[in-house]
C-alpha cells in the first residue's frame, strides 16, 4: 500500500533523487558509536539538531498561550505554568532545552575543534557553524525576557547597558533592540518578534547550509 502510494507520487514528481540526496548515503565506521564507544563525541551535532527540533516544537505550543504584552505576558506564562494541562512540562522542556542546546552545541564545537575537522576543505562549514552558534546565543538572550518577571527584566536591562557601551554603534543597537528609551512594552514585542520569527528563520537557513555542506564534503576522516 505504502509502496504503491510512493510509486504513484514518484511517477509524477520523480522524488527518488531527493530522497537519495537526503537519506541514502553511507556513514564511515570511525564515527559510529556502535563500533567504537568513544565515537559518541561525533553524536553531539546530531543531538544539537534533535534538541533544536524539540525547541521548535515546544516553542510552537508555547505560543498558543503566550501573549507578548507587558500586562499579559507574565499572566499568560503563570497560567501556562500552573493551570494548563502539561503546560509545566512543555515550558520546562523549552526552558531546559535552551540550556541543553547550548551545551550540546558547545560540545559539538569542541569536538570539531579538537579533531581539526574545520580544516580545508571544510572552512566554510565551520564559519556557518559559528554563525549558528551566535544565532542560538541570540535566541537564548531574547527568550530570557519573554516571561517578563523581575529576573528577565533586570537581566535584559543589564544586557542592553552592555550593548550601549559599544562605541558608535552601541546606542543605535540599544535603541533598535529596546524600541524606545526604556525597557518596556516595545522591548517585549521586539524581543518576541526576534525570538519567534527573525532568528528562527535565520537559523533554519543556516542549518540547511550546514547540512548541505556536510553532505557534499562528507565526514572528515579518522585521525
Amino acid at each position: 500500500m505504502l509502496k504503491s502510494v510512493y510509486n504513484w507520487v514518484d511517477e509524477r514528481l520523480d522524488i527518488t533523487p531527493i530522497w537519495r540526496d537526503v537519506a541514502d548515503h553511507e556513514v564511515p565506521e570511525h564515527v559510529n558509536p556502535a563500533h567504537h564507544f568513544s565515537a559518541f563525541v561525533y553524536c553531539f551535532g546530531g543531538l544539537t539538531f534533535f534538541i533544536t527540533v524539540i525547541q521548535i516544537l515546544s516553542g510552537m505550543f508555547l505560543t498558543m498561550y503566550y501573549v507578548p504584552d507587558i500586562i499579559n505576558a507574565y499572566a499568560s506564562v503563570e497560567f501556562l505554568q500552573t493551570k494548563v494541562a502539561f503546560g509545566q512540562i512543555v515550558r520546562g522542556m523549552h526552558h531546559w532545552g535552551a540550556s541543553l542546546v547550548i551545551v550540546m552545541m558547545f560540545l559539538h564545537t569542541l569536538r570539531v575543534f579538537f579533531t581539526g575537522s574545520y580544516k580545508a576543505p571544510r572552512e566554510m562549514n565551520w564559519v556557518v557553524g559559528m554563525l549558528i552558534f551566535f544565532v542560538m546565543i541570540g535566541l537564548g538572550l531574547t527568550g530570557y525576557l519573554l516571561p517578563w518577571d523581575n529576573k528577565s527584566y533586570f537581566a535584559t536591562k543589564v544586557t542592553l547597558e552592555i550593548a550601549n557601551s559599544v562605541p558608535v554603534l552601541g546606542p543605535i543597537i540599544k535603541e533598535l533592540l529596546q524600541g524606545g528609551t526604556i525597557v518596556g512594552a516595545q522591548t517585549l514585542t521586539r524581543f518576541f518578534a526576534i525570538h519567534v520569527f527573525f532568528l528562527p528563520a535565520v537559523l533554519l537557513i543556516l542549518l540547511v547550509g550546514h547540512f548541505i555542506m556536510i553532505r557534499r564534503q562528507g565526514i572528515s576522516g579518522p585521525l
Binding site: 537519495r20 559510529n32 558509536p33 500586562i71 520546562g92 580545508a120 529576573k151 543589564v158
Partner: protein
C-alpha cells in the same frame, strides 16, 4: 540498502535509484579509503544515533519533570533584584566587572577581548591553516582553546558563587523560590494557588470621603503610598484590607514593617506630630482595613 556487491563502480548505488552516476546535486561521498566498514545512514546508522538520542532524551525529561522551569514575580522596575543573566552568559558578565574591562576600559571589555576571542573562533580555519589535524600536534591552537575553556569555567563558577554569597549576605531569596513557597503556603491553608500577575482591574478606594482619608493625607502616609493609595516608594494600599485586619494595620503603623521589597519605618510618632489623636489613628486603621477589593 548497504553495499550492492558485485559492482565495480567506485560509488555504489542502492535500490531502485534511477539517477545516473555523477548526476544530482549531492554525490554520495566515497569512504572506501577510510578504515573499517561504513554503513547506510538510513536506517542503520540513524538507529544508533537515535539510541544515543534516547539516552539524552530520558535525562532531559527527568530534569524537566523534577525541576519545573523557574518563574519569579512580574517585572517591576522599582523592585530590588540582583540582576542575573542566564548561566551561559555568566562568564562574560563576570569578566565585565573587572576594572580593566569596565569604566575607562569598557571598550576593551565589550569589544576588544570578546571581539578578538569570538572573531578568532569564527575565523579559526583561516588562522590555523596547517594540514595537521591532531590536537596534540597543534599546540598553539589547542593551548588557546584550553586556556579559554579554563577561564570560562573559572569565571562562570566565580560569578555563581558570588551570586550565592550575595543572596546569603542580603538575605534575599530568589523570586522563583519565593513564588513556589507562597503557593505551598496557600495550599497548606487550603486556599487556591495565588496569582502573582498584575491586576488589570483597578481596585477602587472604599469610602473616599471618609475622615480616614483626611488622616491619611495629614499623617504623611501619602509621601510613600501616594494620594490615590496606589503606592510610590511604598506598596499600593488599595485592597490592603484583604491582606491585613485593623489590628495588624495598627501594629504596622506603630512598629513599621520589614518587607521583601523594602522597609516601612514606624509612623506612629509622625502621625501624632502631625496632630492626629489616638482616636484618629484608630479610625485610620479601621478605614484602611475596609479597603477590600470586593467591597462596594
Amino acid at each position: 540498502m548497504g553495499h550492492g556487491g558485485k559492482s565495480n563502480e567506485k560509488v555504489v548505488f542502492v535500490g531502485d535509484s534511477r539517477v545516473r552516476k555523477g548526476n544530482g546535486f549531492i554525490t554520495p561521498p566515497d569512504y572506501t579509503s577510510y578504515p573499517g566498514k561504513s554503513e547506510a545512514f538510513i536506517p542503520n546508522f540513524l538507529l544508533k544515533e537515535w539510541m544515543v538520542g534516547v539516552v539524552v532524551l530520558v535525562g532531559f525529561l527527568v530534569l524537566t519533570i523534577s525541576e519545573p522551569a523557574p518563574l519569579g514575580f512580574p517585572a517591576n522596575p522599582t523592585a530590588s533584584v540582583i540582576p542575573m543573566p542566564d548561566w551561559y552568559f555568566l562568564f562574560l558578565y563576570q569578566y565585565l566587572k573587572y576594572p580593566y574591562a569596565s569604566g575607562d576600559f569598557i571598550v576593551l571589555g565589550t569589544l576588544g577581548v570578546p571581539g578578538v576571542a569570538f572573531g578568532g573562533l569564527l575565523l579559526a580555519p583561516f588562522l590555523d591553516r596547517g594540514k595537521e589535524r591532531r590536537f596534540y600536534r597543534r599546540p598553539i591552537a589547542s593551548a588557546i582553546m584550553l586556556l579559554s575553556l579554563v577561564s570560562i569555567v573559572y569565571l562562570t563558577n566565580f560569578a555563581w558563587t558570588h551570586y550565592k554569597h550575595e543572596l546569603a549576605k542580603t538575605g534575599i531569596k530568589p523570586e522563583e523560590e519565593r513564588r513556589i513557597e507562597k503557593a505551598r503556603e496557600a495550599r497548606e491553608k487550603g486556599l487556591p494557588a495565588p496569582s502573582n500577575a498584575v491586576q488589570t482591574k483597578e481596585v477602587a478606594i472604599v469610602d473616599k470621603d471618609d475622615a480616614g482619608m483626611e488622616s491619611f493625607k495629614k499623617a504623611t502616609c501619602i509621601s510613600c503610598h501616594a494620594a490615590d493609595l496606589k503606592g510610590a516608594s511604598g506598596p499600593s494600599l488599595r485592597g490592603v484590607g484583604d491582606k491585613h485586619d485593623k489590628a495588624a494595620i495598627l501594629t504596622i503603623i506603630k512598629e513599621g514593617k520589614k518587607g521583601p521589597d523594602g522597609n516601612m519605618p514606624p509612623m506612629y510618632d509622625t502621625a501624632k506630630g502631625a496632630g492626629l489623636s489616638d482616636q484618629d489613628i484608630d479610625h485610620l486603621a479601621e478605614w484602611l482595613s475596609k479597603q477590600k477589593a470586593e467591597a462596594k
